[in-house]
């Protein structure tokens, strides 16, 4: 049984936003208009957090792509009154849309703000009507939605392996965000398969400069980040923890 995970190398991330666009296209995420942002109801299964480091003119833009962390000890799961969000045997935090009644407790309990509520019936411009992915449910008004690690691709690859009578190969497929990333900053795969790129990164680079967002909350996220390597940065006091 695989255990899916992701490594995001912030040293490679250039903040282009291709992952965000690819995710929107793959997962039938509605188009966010300007007023949706003003209302803070934008839906972005993976979002790009930008922050500034330093003072002008010595200022640097830093980016962190933030998908759902797929915590192994997820705070969103125990609060759902109808078990609409649950953990699959493959380590994915899933949202069952047809079971969700929209209490939004899960999004309140999520510290990463990666759960999104459909306040309206999703709408697409007419020119995009035919680009919807038939393998992904279009979520209706009143349900939560979130990153699924592109489960439709996982299921498809697993079915294909089953049809060919073999085991799932390492890095046979990847998520839409990882596929679209021009600098290969996002790596997705099976953490339990030692041959997969993600497992190799976890056993090497993650030991040197890896961390997980809000790791100290103890939720065991499945998404690892690799720290930016900044050669010009002043040498920090080595902090122990």
């Amino acid at each position: 049984m695989p255990r899916w995970g992701m490594v995001i190398d912030l040293d490679r991330c250039i903040g282009c936003g291709a992952c965000v666009v690819a995710c929107q296209a793959e997962n039938n995420v509605p188009i966010n208009t300007e007023d949706v942002y003003h209302q803070r109801r934008a839906i972005e299964w993976i979002r790009l957090e930008r922050y500034w480091e330093g003072e002008y003119p010595d200022i640097k833009a830093r980016y962190i792509p933030v998908p759902c962390m797929h915590c192994q000890n997820a705070p969103c799961e125990p609060v759902c009154p109808v078990y609409a969000t649950y953990h699959t045997s493959e380590g994915i935090n899933m949202q069952v849309y047809n079971r969700c009644i929209g209490t939004r407790y899960c999004s309140i309990n999520c510290q990463w703000h990666v759960r999104f509520f459909n306040f309206w019936e999703p709408k697409w411009p007419d020119s995009l009507k035919n680009q919807l992915n038939p393998n992904v449910t279009v979520r209706s008004r009143g349900v939560m939605e979130k990153c699924t690690f592109c489960i439709q691709r996982i299921v498809k690859a697993e079915h294909q392996a089953k049809l060919e009578g073999r085991q799932l190969r390492a890095d046979e497929f990847t998520t839409a965000c990882a596929q679209a990333c021009p600098t290969d900053a996002i790596v997705f795969g099976d953490l339990d398969n030692p041959e997969s790129r993600v497992a190799r990164l976890v056993s090497t680079a993650v030991n040197e400069r890896g961390y997980r967002l809000l790791e100290d909350l103890g939720t065991e996220p499945s998404v690892y980040y690799l720290k930016k390597v900044d050669l010009e940065a002043p040498v920090e006091e080595h902090s122990s923890h």
Binding site: T88, M94, Y97, N98, R99, N135, T148, I151, V155, H159
Partner: protein, 178 residues
């Protein structure tokens, strides 16, 4: 009696009002069950009987996607015409419709018989690969004649789950719902 008239009237009205949703649910379960739906009219009365029974064609001869993909797929008109261009069609109204559609380059708008909701994803290939026959879910389509194909199995979630449990398949929500 006069004294309790309003109370009795109120109780009677409430009973009727409360009975409406119950009756609606029962009606939905019994009268609107997928298996009791009338046969849907199709643009061309396609005789499965002739193709699958008399000719003895395999289901997957036309529904090729069933062995390889999620959808069973309905063949393109070109595929029908690979046989039907040599089969005389003059004077046979249903076949004339087929040939006319082919000549105009218009696809036939078949009506879907087995409707699954959008949030349920069914994959034909893995079920057939496991060893199921088409008829396990679709019934004896070969014997369904001119009126058209009818849904014979409930195919609601309980039906799927029972079969999954009996055959040791996963019953994780995310197996079908994503």
């Amino acid at each position: 009696m006069q004294r309790y008239f309003r109370l009795v009237l109120f109780a009677a009205v409430m009973l009727v009002v409360l009975a409406i949703p119950v009756a609606a649910v029962l009606a939905r379960t019994y009268f609107l069950a997928p298996t009791t739906q009338p046969v849907k009219a199709q643009p061309i009365q396609f005789p499965h009987q002739v193709h699958a029974q008399a000719m003895g064609l395999d289901c997957t001869f036309c529904h090729r996607g069933a062995i390889t993909s999620a959808q069973a797929t309905i063949p393109a008109l070109e595929f029908c015409m690979s046989c039907h261009k040599v089969i005389p069609w003059q004077g046979r109204p249903e076949l004339e419709k087929l040939v006319q559609a082919f000549e105009r380059g218009q696809p036939v708008q078949w009506n879907k018989v087995h409707q699954l909701p959008d949030h349920a994803h069914f994959v034909h290939a893995v079920h057939l690969n496991f060893g199921f026959q088409c008829s396990d879910c679709h019934g004896d389509v070969a014997a369904m004649g001119k009126p058209g194909v009818k849904q014979v199995r409930d195919l609601r979630m309980g039906d799927c789950l029972t079969c999954h449990q009996q055959n040791g398949a996963r019953t994780d929500c995310s197996v079908c719902h994503y």
